[in-house]
């Protein structure tokens, strides 16, 4: 190896070390000081991966943060209206009802914003109340027509939906968005109830192109890695979705997830509940 090659390889080693240093310093910064928020979540909000494909060869465990915006698992919400989208930096001044307008709105792409996730708040209570009301209504209809198999099936389905909402569905709802994390924190001060996360929001034409609504494309950091010393608590926790199939019969867990200065989450602790 000649002089220049020695230097090339020294440069490569320096690049590896520097990249790791930058990444790890960023992690240290995120986790330094008091977390921005700390939520106590259960297996309802932290879903283990479905075991298929290459996932079966993955010995690690990363949980997905299950959040909701609308009913039952939609990513659009009533609060994400035209005014909010404008506040988030989208130019919605063009008329919708023209071909040029429709073309413009179809081309709008998602923007990165801060989202507020509320745990077990009024949106969850509203979803629970709606499921209860639906179950009672379907049950009453089925009782009024005992021979009607379709109504019986609808009542059973609504009953399952209620069970899902009471025991399985996520209680974490996206309730607001903004471009200033500080302003959002001032508005939603309870750090054990409201988490601020990075997310993506996009406008879309709805109602046959008659109006513009917004929807949340993604929560950017929606994955929570489980370190080896906390893995045992998640044994037997299985993924659930939408209330179909057999009811959840796995263990109940309570996991504390912190969101740091860069709004990146990490698992602080976990315990199994009796």
């Amino acid at each position: 190896m000649n002089w220049s090659r020695r230097h090339i390889f020294a440069l490569g080693a320096a690049l590896i070390v520097a990249t790791n240093a930058v990444a790890l310093l960023g992690v240290a910064y995120n986790r330094s000081g008091t977390p921005d928020s700390e939520l106590r979540l259960s297996q309802r909000e932290l879903r283990p991966p479905f075991q298929w494909g290459l996932q079966r060869e993955n010995s690690g465990l990363s949980l997905t943060l299950v959040w909701r915006a609308g009913e039952p698992y939609g990513s659009s919400a009533a609060w994400l209206d035209r005014a909010k989208l404008t506040e988030l930096g989208f130019d919605l001044s063009r008329p919708v009802a023209t071909p040029a307008g429709r073309r413009y709105y179809a081309k709008l792409r998602s923007r990165e914003v801060y989202l507020v996730l509320e745990l077990d708040g009024s949106p969850y209570q509203a979803a629970l109340d709606a499921a209860r009301e639906r179950a009672e209504k379907r049950k009453a209809e089925a009782l009024a027509h005992p021979g009607d198999a379709r109504l019986k099936m609808q009542a059973d389905f609504a009953e399952n939906q209620l069970f899902h909402e009471e025991h399985e569905a996520s209680r974490l709802f996206a309730i607001d968005a903004g471009l200033d994390a500080g302003a959002l924190r001032a508005k939603y001060a309870d750090r054990s109830r409201y988490a601020i996360v990075r997310g993506r929001v996009r406008p879309a034409l709805e109602g046959d192109g008659a109006r513009v609504d917004g929807y949340i494309t993604a929560v950017i950091n929606d994955s929570v890695n489980v370190p080896l010393d906390m893995r045992k608590a998640f044994e037997g926790v299985t993924p659930r979705s939408y209330g179909f199939g057999p009811r959840y019969a796995g263990p109940t867990i309570e996991a504390t997830v912190a969101f740091g200065r860069r709004f990146e989450p990490w698992l602080v602790g976990v315990a199994r509940k009796p």
Binding site: F9, A13, V27, L54, G60, L228
Partner: protein
Amino acid sequence: MPVQSRSEAQQRTDEIHAFQRELQDLERRGILALTAEQRRALESHHGALLAEFARQFDVDRDAQAKQLSWGMRIASLAGALALGASVFFLFYQFWGRFSTTLQVAILIAAALGSFAATAWIQRRDGSGYFTKLAAMVAFVCFVLNVAMLGQIFDITPSDKALVPWAAFALLLAYACDARLLLGAGILCAIAFVGARTGTFSGAYWLDFGERPENFFPAAALLFAVPQLVRHERFPGFAQTYRVFALLTLYLPMLVLANWGQLSYLDFDPGLVKGGYQIGGFLASGLLAWLGVRRGWAHVVNTSVTFFLIFLYTKFFDWWWDWMPKYLFFFLLGLTAVLFLLVLRRLRAR
């Protein structure tokens, strides 16, 4: 002039063999006759050069060795890709069994260790095949290192990760004369420039693929690299930059020539589509002409290929539904013949 890479050594070896063949032919015809002293000096000089090239760079001495080299090159490429995948799945299979500290230590050690191994192998491997294989594994280890740190610590995904990946791949490519890694580095650079271009309009970086025009600045930059940086010591590198530049230009144009609604341009999608169809013809035609002028065969070939693709997609749009298939393919064949005639005339100039 000192020879510094295997490619240069191989090129010099081939030139010496060609010279020796031509000399034999000239002597046989009686056009040139060297004195015994001149012949001895020449043979001694060439013999010393060839021995040195063989010792230092393990060059192919004859046609048979060259054919075997192609086999080795293919095996090296397949081996590099397979070993890279193996390293990835090895970590994937076992990483969950380690503590976080050990995971980080293994990732950094694997990246540094595989890089050091590449340096060590390069000192002993004159042929370069094993070095390139090791370099590919080192690159995969570094990509895995950064990607897994992101997963372990739930770091926000960022296009900035593409910068060290591109830098590392390019560094290995130049250090080990590895065009596969040059391609990997160029792809990372294209993704980074594309993502940055996309974010200028306020969009999220991962959405950059939704607007094919985001790739155009990367195409221009790549095309400029071999013009600004001399690559004599790295045979094939300048060509690789230009071919990637052309692909980065033509593929988005081809997409926009078929789906105009994906463009940034706020016009009727049909108009945008038509514009890019014409643009595609003009760009590929002009660049083919530039390739002929500069003697860049790779630019001519890539541009002519895309000119034909633009043309055939247009033919498909116009004629596929209503024209009998035998006539459709007959017309395609005729255009190919026409092209051959045009290219033959250009070659004859």
